[in-house]
Structure formats: structure tokens, C-alpha cells
């Protein structure tokens, strides 16, 4: 269900089935299912160590699940299911899925603009001058065109994260993943990043957001997923924040909101 009550009817963009992930002998995801439909905004929240980030990172295979199926835009990438069956290559998946990191992960040796032209040129094969134009347009969208020549070290955390969002968006992904995008920011700078994310959400982008900003989640979340100890405890629409059924969800939301 969307926030306005209309059902999310788009085709599934990402389907995770029975995702398990173990680091050595320690399993951190114990069989998680998640379906993300086109245009849907999914928010994943929960205490630290609950496996939120690991789940998000298995969508673009930065974490290769130990078991389960990862299907993105109809192509199977997971290690589970149908041995020997057709399986997509991670690099192709990642070309359709953008990601924003907690630590921004801008390339410090490149200017803000060249952080965007590098992937445009190497992934999209765009020529130098067109890459400059498209990168400039991407920076303009996040209000940072005047900082095009600046290096990451010359930008505030909020500005760096906005460049990182512009960088991911410039590749025109079908799905955007946000891994605690405001957790490393000074409280003052959180607002500008959420503002950009709000614009992205309003543009109809399919999004999966791991966040502790539950007010923001309540605002954009079509599907809200509460996780703990590597499992999904409860899912729901906006009403989840006011009427959750699990006592643990209630306890967490009460403590954060």
C-alpha cells in the first residue's frame, strides 16, 4: 500500500527469498524475504546488529548471501535455487541499482564533478564533454553545482552525501539503496540530505532505505520493515508506527520516536 492508500501495483524490482548470510560460523541473516515493487519506498529499521545493512547489501551483492535467491528486474543472481540455472553477473545487477553509503565513500582524489564523470564514462561509456554536462546536471539537482571543482575534503558531510546521491542517480538506476545515509552526519546536516532523499522519493524512484530516522520513514515509507537478530519481526505501511502488533516493534519505535 502506498501512503495515499493506493496499492503498489508496479512489477517487482527486487525479490529476496530465504536470504541467509553467515560470516564464518556466525549467521547474521536467518532466511529473510523481501519484495520491492517499482515505485515503492521500503524502509528497513531496527537495532544495531539486526542485519539491516547486510540485507540491503545483499540486494546488490556487496554481501554475497550464503543461501537464498536474489532476483533483480527478473534476473536471478542468488546462490540458491536451481543449481546450474542461468545466473546474472554482479556487475550487470549493479548497473541497475544505485547505492548510497553511511560514510559517503566519495573518491577523495577526484573533484565533486569527476566523482560523477568517472562512473558515467566507465559504466555508460559517455564521452568526456557529455559526461561533464550530465554530471553538472546531477550536481545542480542536489544544489551543489557551485562546488563542482571542490574535492570531498573541502565539502561538509551533508554536501558529500548529496554528491554521493547525485553520483548514484546520474547513472539512472531502477532502484536506489540507502545504507544509513544520515547516521554519520552532524545533526544539523541531516535535514539537507533527507531533503534530497525526499525529492528522489517524490520523483517516483524505487527506494530501499535503512535508517534510524523514523520520522522520515513515516513520511516516505510505503513498506516498513522492522528487523531484529537477522529476522524480519514485523512489516507494515505507515500505520506500523502507530499500531504495530509486536511488542518488540512497539518498544523500539517508542524508544526512537
Amino acid at each position: 500500500m502506498r501512503q495515499d492508500g493506493s496499492p503498489v501495483s508496479g512489477p517487482p524490482v527486487a525479490e529476496l527469498r530465504g536470504i541467509r548470510k553467515a560470516f564464518g560460523s556466525k549467521e547474521v541473516l536467518h532466511g529473510v524475504d523481501l519484495t520491492v515493487h517499482a515505485g515503492e519506498h521500503v524502509v528497513i529499521f531496527g537495532p544495531s546488529g539486526s542485519g539491516k545493512s547486510t540485507l540491503l547489501r545483499s540486494i546488490n551483492l556487496l554481501e554475497e548471501p550464503t543461501e537464498g535467491s536474489v532476483k533483480v528486474l527478473g534476473v536471478e543472481y542468488g546462490p540458491g535455487l536451481e543449481p546450474g540455472g542461468p545466473r546474472g553477473k554482479a556487475v550487470d545487477l549493479r548497473r541497475c541499482v544505485g547505492m548510497v553509503f553511511q560514510q559517503f565513500n566519495l573518491f577523495p582524489h577526484l573533484s565533486a564533478l569527476d566523482n560523477i564523470t568517472l562512473p558515467l564514462r566507465s559504466v555508460k561509456g559517455v564521452g568526456r564533454s557529455e559526461a561533464d554536462e550530465r554530471a553538472a546536471a546531477a550536481l545542480k539537482r542536489v544544489g551543489l553545482l557551485p562546488w563542482a571543482a571542490s574535492y570531498p575534503s573541502q565539502l561538509s558531510g551533508g554536501q558529500q552525501q548529496r554528491v554521493a546521491i547525485a553520483r548514484a542517480l546520474s547513472l539512472e538506476p531502477e532502484l536506489m539503496l540507502f545504507d544509513e545515509p544520515t547516521s554519520a552526519l552532524d545533526p544539523e546536516l541531516v535535514g539537507e540530505v533527507l531533503g534530497v532523499m525526499r525529492t528522489v522519493a517524490e520523483s517516483g524512484m524505487t527506494m530501499v532505505v535503512v535508517t534510524h530516522e523514523l520520522n522520515f520513514a513515516r513520511e516516505i515509507g510505503d513498506l516498513n520493515v522492522f528487523m531484529e537478530d537477522g529476522r524480519v519481526v514485523e512489516t507494515g505501511g505507515r500505520e506500523l508506527f502507530d499500531h504495530c502488533t509486536s511488542a518488540r516493534t512497539q518498544q523500539f519505535i517508542g524508544a526512537v520516536l
Partner: protein
Amino acid sequence: MNTYDWGLIWENAPLLLHGLLTAIEVAAVAMVLSLAFGLGLALMRLARAPFSWIAAAYINVFRGVPALVSVIWVYFGVSLLLGVSFSVFQAGVIALVLLYSAFLAEIYRSALTAIPRGQREAGLALGISAGRVFRSVTLPQATKIAVPNIGNMFIGMIKDTSVFTVIGLLEVVRVTQNVVSTTFQPFVLYTAAAGLYVLVAFALDLLFRTLEKLMSTPQQGRVARAVNSRRRRQLEVIASGA
């Protein structure tokens, strides 16, 4: 007998400088090759077994071999063993590459591991191929970290050429020995030789400092700014929204 004839330095300056040039040539060629082999070794060292074992074994052996032993081994040993005869220049280069690729491998390894994992992940998440991520994201940042140490290695290489006098390479020490044998002024001439090494070390320090500035972001120093001026102007035009 006790008088020092400092004029000898001036008289023999062309010979000494030619020796210095030879030393720099050997070291420079060896440095280029060592950088390539060193990077390869570093990547092997960071790869899975058995590659990492092979690289670790190589590094641990050749880091410990003195240049004098290396060059005698290459010039007299290997040429006998394989039936190929190296020129003194070639033998000098090979001897240095054998040793210094081990050192440079360690320099590269520590620099590569110093790059946060998130850098590679960001590149991969953007859909950039692993090879391109290495070339355009990881390696430039690692090289920047490695440059000061590479500079030190280069200075060490030039000094190590002095032992190649044993195979008859006409570098600074060999030239000095030759002149001493006819003039009997070792103090004067070896002081001149030391002076030359110090001068080169000084010049290299300057060169590598400039390189460091060139790779700093934002670029510091006049040379660095001049080199990057074209792209910087382009970026400034773009930033102005024109």
C-alpha cells in the same frame, strides 16, 4: 703528502659526473621495472594462497640479500648457469630489480591495504568493473600514499649502485677509484663522491616532494597547479553554471 689537492675534483669533474649519470641511469631503469614487478608482487601477496605464499617467500628472501651479493650472483652466477652474458649495465639493473621489487611490493601492499574498503565497494556498487575500480580508484590513492617511500627507495637504489664497482660498472665509486689510483688523493676524491650522492639525494627529495604535491587534493604548490590548470579551469567554468 699531507696537502690535499682539491683542484683534482674540478679536473676530474667530467669523469665523476659521467659516473653519476651512469648510476642514475641504472637506478632509473631499475626503478621503473621494480615499480611494475613490485605492484605485481603486492597483488599476489594480497591474493589467495598459493599466490600469497609465493610472493611472501620472494619478498622475505630478496629483502635480505645485499646488493653486492645480488650483483655478483647475477653477473657471474646466473650468466654461467644460463649461459647468457649480461652487460655490466644489465647486470646492475637486474640485481637492483631483484631486491627492490621486494621492498616496493611491501610499500604497495601497505598502501593498498590503507585504502578504506568503502572505496572499492563504492566503485563496484556503481557498476564499475573490478579492474577499472582498481585502476581509477584504489591505485591512484595507494600510489599517493606510497610516493614518499618510493622516493626513499630511489635514493637507496642510487647509493646501492656504488657496489657495482665490483663488476666494473663505471659509476661514481669506480671512477673515483680509478682517479685515486693515479693521484693518491682518496680523501679529496671520496669526499667529492659523497658530495655527489648527497646532491642527488637532495634533488630526488625535491622531485618527490613535487610529486606528492601533484597528487595532493586539492593540488598544492605552483607546479602541481600548473599541471592541472586546464581541468581546473574547466571545472571552475562548470561550477559557475556557464
